[in-house]
Symmetry: C2
Subunit: 235 residues, 2 copies
DNA sequence: TCAAAAGTGTTAGTGGTACACCCATGC
DNA sequence: GCATGGGTGTACCACTAACACTTTTGA
């Protein structure tokens, strides 16, 4: 079965990478979509994607593509799932490795992405028509984001370095499409000791709220243990 | 970037599938490895793998390959991760989609697999040398099996249709390399109401233990909710 | 009758949820 | 001075974890 000749006779296949890019504007959870151009699928919104480069591994290619669109490096990027249905791309058989990315919307360089016809869509207001199986990719990404966020404190990746507890709560409420009791929420978050309270306050409200930042060391060593941020998630 | 010409000029890539096949013999958690033949890598243990077939999607190819080795159909199969490092296969660039499979070791047809030089290795006694990045695949599969088994009742997939609570406990102890209190364990398992107690007893011990079977309906509707089978898993 | 494995109940502690009031400030 | 959003404490309930004895039966 596996001999040298079989390498030569095996049909090869195009390999693409597509990224589901999540952002949070303080109110709604959003996904970044682009209109690909210039010739093909120019009228259809799609995920940001590109081809696997022969001298890059999968994650490097995904990072490069993300950088080309958003100008961002070092963002949270995680492999989601690989899609390989026979006719998912009608032009030629393509296997696509999907990644999901969490980015801080404030860092996002809108200049680059304007050139690519990019737009942030709230997760509840996606266009009806998306390229190929991108709708399926997005649905899976949302599901996985909820799953992970219920068990791991990865929500911070979507916020600025300094943020308030009410901001964090709004984010979780956007992810899970629900509301939480603020007393229980802040107690649960603070009980992890992952947040460091700062002296400064953010004064976007009348009273102002204390800013916090993530204790990076603890966060990194913590990311493999887990807890229930959401008690009875409905997956 | 994405026009028709780009499809023709894009380098294509080999796509393979590899399966990490878990089994449980009542005592140890094991993984099925093969020696590939006849020419290439004949001396190295490896995961069961094969090429993506142009007229199959990813899961269908993985199922076919699994069937060719074990003679089994309809087993629990789940996509694990896609590996694409540049030189993971020194002969030619190959992207490999890894699946993990849970099979009931009693159903396993050893005749077919003898022809493939297959052998069950306890997870704690793997050969030192494995093909390509297969060690990495196995490590990730064990990690994911623990993660999922801690939250979802998927352990049943590794047992016969009828099994006893002590058997199930031994399985979980093998997965997590620890021991559990049997009173707390059985209470937790039974509180899900996923198991139906049968009249029969299994008499492999002196006293004999009651057999149970899975309530399939409940199990299927349950698989998306979750609970902590293991309280403080060390991931 | 003894050894081996199965089966079962209670208690104390922890963590989760529900709930209401005061505080600081801008207008 | 009032409306807005921020911050905090308590009581009850449910779940978890720790722990020991009795039952059955094959040898």
């Amino acid at each position: 079965m596996l001999d040298k000749a079989s390498y030569d006779t095996q049909p090869k296949c195009l390999v693409a990478l597509d990224s589901i890019i999540f952002g949070f504007d303080g109110d709604l959870l959003k996904i970044l979509l682009v209109k690909r151009g210039p010739n093909l699928h120019a009228d259809t919104w799609s995920l940001m994607g590109g081809w696997l480069n022969p001298n890059e591994n999968l994650e490097q290619s995904a990072e490069r593509i993300l950088f080309e669109l958003t100008g961002l490096k070092g963002v949270y990027l995680e492999q989601l799932y690989t899609f390989g249905d026979i006719n998912r791309d009608p032009i030629d058989r393509t296997v696509s490795v999907a990644y999901f990315a969490l980015i801080n919307i404030e860092h996002y360089d809108s200049k680059i992405s304007q050139a690519h016809f990019a737009h942030w869509f709230p997760v509840s207001e996606m266009p009806d028509e998306l390229l190929f199986d991108h709708r399926q990719m997005i649905d899976l990404a949302i599901q996985k984001l909820r799953y992970k966020a219920a068990l791991h404190p990865l929500g911070f990746e979507l916020l600025p370095e300094k943020f308030t507890i009410p901001q964090l709560q709004k984010l979780y409420e956007a992810i899970f499409q629900t509301t939480f009791d603020k007393r229980n929420f802040s107690r649960k978050i603070l009980s992890t000791h992952l947040l460091v309270k700062l002296k400064e306050k953010q004064k976007s409200s009348k009273k102002g709220a204390y800013l916090y930042e993530v204790n990076k060391e603890k966060y990194n060593s913590f990311s493999n243990s887990f807890l229930n941020f959401v008690s009875n998630p409905d997956f």
